[in-house]
């Protein structure tokens, strides 16, 4: 052969973090090449897919999605159903209902929901709070205790509450902790260092580096992915070698392409298909950039993204 491509495995490696327990436990991260660059070196762990279970799921008004979850009432019902999806590696519990500016559900209610879910499913759990910094401090601490021993990942510690969240989740209860920043490699690194300073084991940390739906300032997300992954692999920067989780559904289901009714945008066609397409395209872009796990809402997105990953690793 006249031409042999130069392969480029790196000396740096993304941390491999285990979530869950028993034979359903999963490992995210572990690569020493750029996403899907199997021609450089084999991919140690394929990226994982989480399925979203939300405490506001009753308000999802898309026909196919409703149909899939028909008869589900509690979060546990939803989780059980979601777990049956082929391609579902873990369940992601979202608690937007706990937001004090919204329904302001109590911490106790949310904890009860999470416990009920943990009793009926066997796949690993990731918990996403309500995004209100103070409420999340309380909520995540209480859940970390209630779900002790399940090896759960809690999203997320931010600059404002990393001390409470880091201490309660990782130090007191030995769970995994997410470190969330907004599209900025410097802030991402800084938060990881601060968590380390708190004595949180870097091997217990997963990053949420701040993503967006495609079309909505995604260039910032794309470049943050590229820069963080290159820093982890090419420069061997241990403070940026944490695997990355992208909560795709939180970015895509609220944008106009996914929400505009067919009456308002007659040319655009089926609303549910648009929402699925936004979720798939954003997930594919995140995975191409370096997400080691993505969280999706729609069963159709799960199926396609699973196929996408399988064909590429």
């Amino acid at each position: 052969m006249s031409f042999a491509p130069k392969t480029a495995p790196y000396s740096g490696k993304v941390n491999a973090v285990t979530l869950g327990t028993g034979d359903k436990a999963i490992v995210i991260g572990g690569q020493n090449v750029l996403p899907f660059y199997t021609f450089d070196a084999p991919i140690e762990n394929a990226p994982k897919i989480g399925v979203e279970v939300s405490d506001l799921a009753a308000s999802w008004d898309y026909p196919e999605l409703k149909e899939f979850y028909a008869g589900c009432v509690t979060m546990a019902d939803y989780a059980k159903k979601a777990e049956t999806l082929e391609g579902c590696d873990f369940i992601c519990l979202n608690f937007p209902g706990a937001d004090p500016n919204g329904m302001n559900r109590s911490v106790a209610d949310c904890v009860a929901d999470a416990k009920a879910v943990a009793e009926v499913i066997t796949k690993p759990i990731v918990v996403v709070g309500c995004k209100n910094v103070e409420k999340d401090g309380e909520l995540l601490a209480a859940m970390a205790e209630a779900l002790a021993g399940k090896n759960v990942l809690f999203m997320s510690a931010k600059n404002e509450n990393y001390k409470t969240v880091g201490a309660s989740v990782a130090l007191a209860n030995g769970q995994k902790v997410g470190a969330e920043t907004a599209d900025d490699i410097n802030l991402a690194k800084q938060l990881n260092i601060m968590l380390k300073g708190l004595n949180v084991n870097p091997a217990s940390v997963v990053m949420d580096i701040g993503t967006a739906a495609v079309g909505y300032g995604y260039e910032y997300a794309a470049s943050t992915f590229d820069r963080i992954r290159l820093a982890a692999l090419a420069q061997g920067d241990a403070d940026l070698q944490m695997p990355i989780l992208a909560a795709v559904c939180n970015d895509t289901w609220g944008v106009k392409e996914s929400t505009a009714s067919e009456e308002d945008e007659p040319a655009w066609g089926c609303r549910e298909e648009r929402a699925i397409s936004m979720e798939i395209a954003t997930a594919a872009a995140d995975l191409t950039g370096g997400a080691d796990a993505v969280v999706l809402r729609h069963p159709a997105s799960v199926a396609t993204v699973k196929k996408f990953i399988t064909e590429l690793v």
Binding site: M1, S2, F3, A4, P5, K6, A8, F36, Y37, T38, F39, D184, N186, Q190, A213, V214, G215, Y216, G217, Y218, E219, A222, S223, D226, R227, L230, G254, V255, K256, E257, T259, D264, A267, W268, G269, C270, E273, R274, I276, S277, M278, I280, A281, T282, A283, A284, A285, L287, T288, G289, A300, T304, V305, K307, F308, E311, L312, V313
Partner: protein
């Protein structure tokens, strides 16, 4: 690719004959590398050496033009390294096997055609695949595709069919037909027709060899079809081709690429969406899909638009009315700026509110609300201009106008410029909008504004005579009281070579200063002035905000206040209101140096140079024209233009202080050295320079900023920076500047120089 002197020397004749005028071949080659002399001054370089040198300076990846489009020409693998240049284009395929569906498909293609943030989104190419051997059949299908007016990709390995197709396809097409078996014949066809030739092979090694052979025949108008048997193989090909060209610097693979996701996704439309998203990021110049529905187009074109955004240019949306939630002429108006992220945030939150509202986007050069306001890009005049140009009052009947809470200060001025509207101040943050709109919080404000208007309507408006500066000074500028702030300005010799610090703390973007300016309250202003003078500032910058209404009296007051209280401290006058600057200069005392006009640029603010020239002032000249200069070539063009203008108006070059525009490390780490080089270029021309140096550390933690700022100032002073707009209260920075002035031999050394 810049060649180093030693690389050229290796190929040189090494005769040291001196015919070129240089003492040695080595010296000559070094000069060539710097661009000081041209290579042809030496008659002894071999043909071969010249060819090597010429090709070494050619771009690694060619830009191929196909009809109206440009493909390839990329210089980096990741957008943060510089920028990506030519966006991916999309194709939809039709083929001879399913020719019966072609009409329907071609009609579908035309349906997706819309605009998003100033960019037309549509399918650029029709991909016409040939799977049979009758030239007439293929030509028939190509003819149909050509009738759509879109550019064509003819995927055809059969020479006779290709020949027939080219006759009906027109010039705007690619012949994707060369393989390791037929390349010679296809090469002839493509060359004769003058179209780009696509090359495909079943493996990347054969692809490489075939390109080599084609190049050997002199064809460099190529595009590589890197589609493999699977998604995995296709990604490997796309990445390896691009990486080989840009990293290994092997130009054989320096061509744009085609990826056919319709082939590898085998009929799964959603899978095509996923793969297309990946190939937008990973190196496909043209992506071929089996369909393009809106559901696919919306995310894919959105992604493409983001990925191919120049990191240095803010994304702007068009200034116009955006009706939200089915708003008609009876819905209220909300106003914001044209910065794309602001637009998305605000329109998203307004949509969430579920309330009909007309969002009016006004031109603000793609800046965020506060930045635009401070730069004078968002003012009652610019808003009035938008309202007039778009005929908003004619199109919308509702008279409620909600303005961003951050610019509440503009309410009065806007109300005056748009007297028929009821101006209401909206919330400070976009996230507060849903509640604000749902609860109709604007209604009370609108009623109050309306009542106020009605009350005014009865009174006869007095004819306002424009007052001269002298009259304004007599009647509108409060008397200055002298307050002992415990510190005095020590004086400044304008001839001194020491670094000039311009204190930035009197700025209207700070709420306390904004309020003090509005109320003519001396205390907060004097306090900040005293702090800065005590810390050793040479000049003080006085930013009075856009001050559209009362600019002249405001500036006269501020200038007198500061100079009379602080021993005629020299000032930089900073506002978008040129009349205000002129007025300020009228009352300005020059004992400690000329006033500085802050600032001109090479775009819409070029007139500030005229203003400075007419008033014998120094002028800060920002080397940009509404947006960051893309490289130093552009910076220097701006610099030369402004210099020429100043000199032609009788200024001396010493009175133009050039500002390279300091960039934030966080967003543009890779551009910092370029800014430093620009300073050196100013300095080499014998020009003075200044700028908002602390912008570099914007967004960094508080305790880190002084460290970064002082490191940068040291590097800048080494490059020849003569002044900077800084926070003088930053002790570390000021000490660094003093130390650098010692090293530069600008001041005498003594052990206690830091205290002096």
């Amino acid at each position: 690719m810049a060649l180093k002197g030693l690389d050229i020397f290796k190929l040189s004749p090494k005769k040291n004959c001196k015919e070129c005028g240089s003492p040695t071949c080595m010296a000559f080659c070094m000069k060539v590398a710097q661009g000081a002399v041209s290579l042809d001054k030496c008659p002894y370089f071999s043909e071969e050496a010249l060819a090597t040198l010429n090709s070494a300076t050619a771009p690694l990846m060619k830009t191929i033009s196909v009809g109206d489009y440009k493909l390839g020409g990329e210089t980096v693998l990741f957008r943060h390294e510089k920028t990506l240049v030519n966006k991916n284009l999309f194709a939809v395929c039709v083929c001879t096997d399913c020719a019966d569906k072609a009409d329907e498909k071609l009609a579908e293609v035309a349906k997706v055609d819309y605009e998003r943030i100033g960019e037309r989104m549509y399918v650029e190419f029709i991909h016409v695949a040939n799977k049979q051997s009758d030239p007439a059949v293929y030509a028939e299908l190509v003819k149909k595709a050509a009738a759509t007016g879109r550019h064509l990709i003819l995927e055809c390995w059969d020479v006779e069919c290709a020949k027939a197709a080219l006759e009906v396809a027109g010039k705007k097409c690619i012949l994707d037909g060369a393989t390791p078996d037929n390349w010679e014949a296809m090469n002839e066809l493509a060359t004769k027709a003058g179209v780009t030739l696509g090359v495909w092979a079943s493996n990347i090694s054969d692809l490489y060899d075939t390109v080599k052979k084609l190049e050997g025949k002199g064809n460099k108008n190529l595009i590589l079809d890197v589609t493999g048997a699977t998604a995995k193989e296709t990604l490997a090909n796309a990445v390896n081709v691009r990486r080989t060209a840009l990293k290994q610097e092997d130009r054989t693979f320096g061509y744009p690429s085609i990826v056919n996701v319709a082939k590898i996704a085998k009929g799964d439309d959603r899978m095509q969406t996923a793969l297309a998203a990946m190939f937008v990021e990973k190196y496909a110049s043209i992506i071929v899909m089996s369909h393009m529905s809106y559901a696919q187009a919306l995310p894919l074109y959105g992604l493409r638009q983001n990925i191919f955004t120049d990191p240095q240019k803010p994304m702007k949306v068009e200034a116009k009315i955006y009706p939200i939630n089915g708003a008609d002429e009876n819905a209220p108006v909300a106003l914001t700026v044209d910065f794309a992220l602001t637009y998305f945030l605000v329109s998203g939150e307004l949509e969430r509110s579920g309330q009909p509202v007309n969002l009016v986007i006004t031109d603000a050069s793609g800046m965020s609300v506060l930045t635009a306001w401070a730069a004078g890009k968002l003012s009652s005049s610019t808003i009035k201009k938008t309202f007039d140009e778009l005929d908003i009052a004619g199109k919308i009947k509702n008279r409620t106008l909600i303005i961003p809470g951050k610019v509440a200060v503009m309410k009065g001025e806007i109300q005056e410029k748009l007297p028929e509207w009821n101006v209401v101040v909206g919330p400070l943050e976009a996230v507060q909008l849903p509640k604000y709109m749902k609860d109709k919080e604007y209604e009370a404000g609108a009623k109050a504004a309306e009542a106020e208007r009605a009350a005014k309507a009865g009174t006869v408006v007095e004819e306002v005579k424009e007052l001269s500066f002298e009259e304004l000074l007599q009647t509108r500028v409060p008397k200055i009281e002298i307050v002992d702030m415990g510190v005095q300005y020590k004086g400044h010799n304008p001839e001194s070579k020491t670094f000039v610090t311009i204190g930035e703390r009197i700025h209207c973007i700070a709420p306390v200063i904004r309020k003090a300016m509005d109320e003519r309250d001396p205390e907060p202003i004097l306090k900040r002035a005293a702090e800065q003078i005590k810390a050793g500032a040479t000049y003080l910058d006085v930013n009075i905000g856009p001050a559209e209404k009362d600019g002249p009296e405001r500036m006269m007051w501020a200038v007198k206040l500061l100079q009379e209280n602080f021993n005629n401290v020299p000032l930089a006058l900073d506002t978008a209101n040129m009349k205000a600057i002129e007025a300020g200069i009228k009352v300005y005392n020059r004992t400690n140096g000329k006033p500085i006009v802050n600032s001109a640029d090479a775009g819409s603010r070029i007139g500030y140079i005229d203003l400075a020239a007419a008033n014998d002032a120094i002028c800060i000249a920002l080397c940009s024209a509404d947006g960051i200069a893309k490289d130093n070539d552009e910076r220097m063009v701006h610099c030369d233009n402004m210099l020429e203008r100043g000199l032609s108006l009788g200024m001396t070059s010493d009175d133009l202080w050039f500002d390279p525009l300091f960039l934030v490390v966080k967003g543009m780490q890779d551009k910092q050295m370029e800014v430093l080089e620009a300073i050196k270029m100013f300095s080499d021309k014998g020009l003075k320079s200044t700028g908002g140096l602390s912008n570099n550390s914007n967004g960094a933690p508080k305790h880190v900023r002084p460290i970064m700022d002082s490191a940068l100032v040291a590097m800048c002073m080494m490059q020849g920076l003569t002044s900077a707009i800084v926070n003088p209260n930053d002790l570390r920075l000021m000490e660094t500047i003093k130390s650098c002035d010692i090293f530069k031999n600008h001041v005498l050394y003594s052990d206690s120089y830091l205290e002096v």
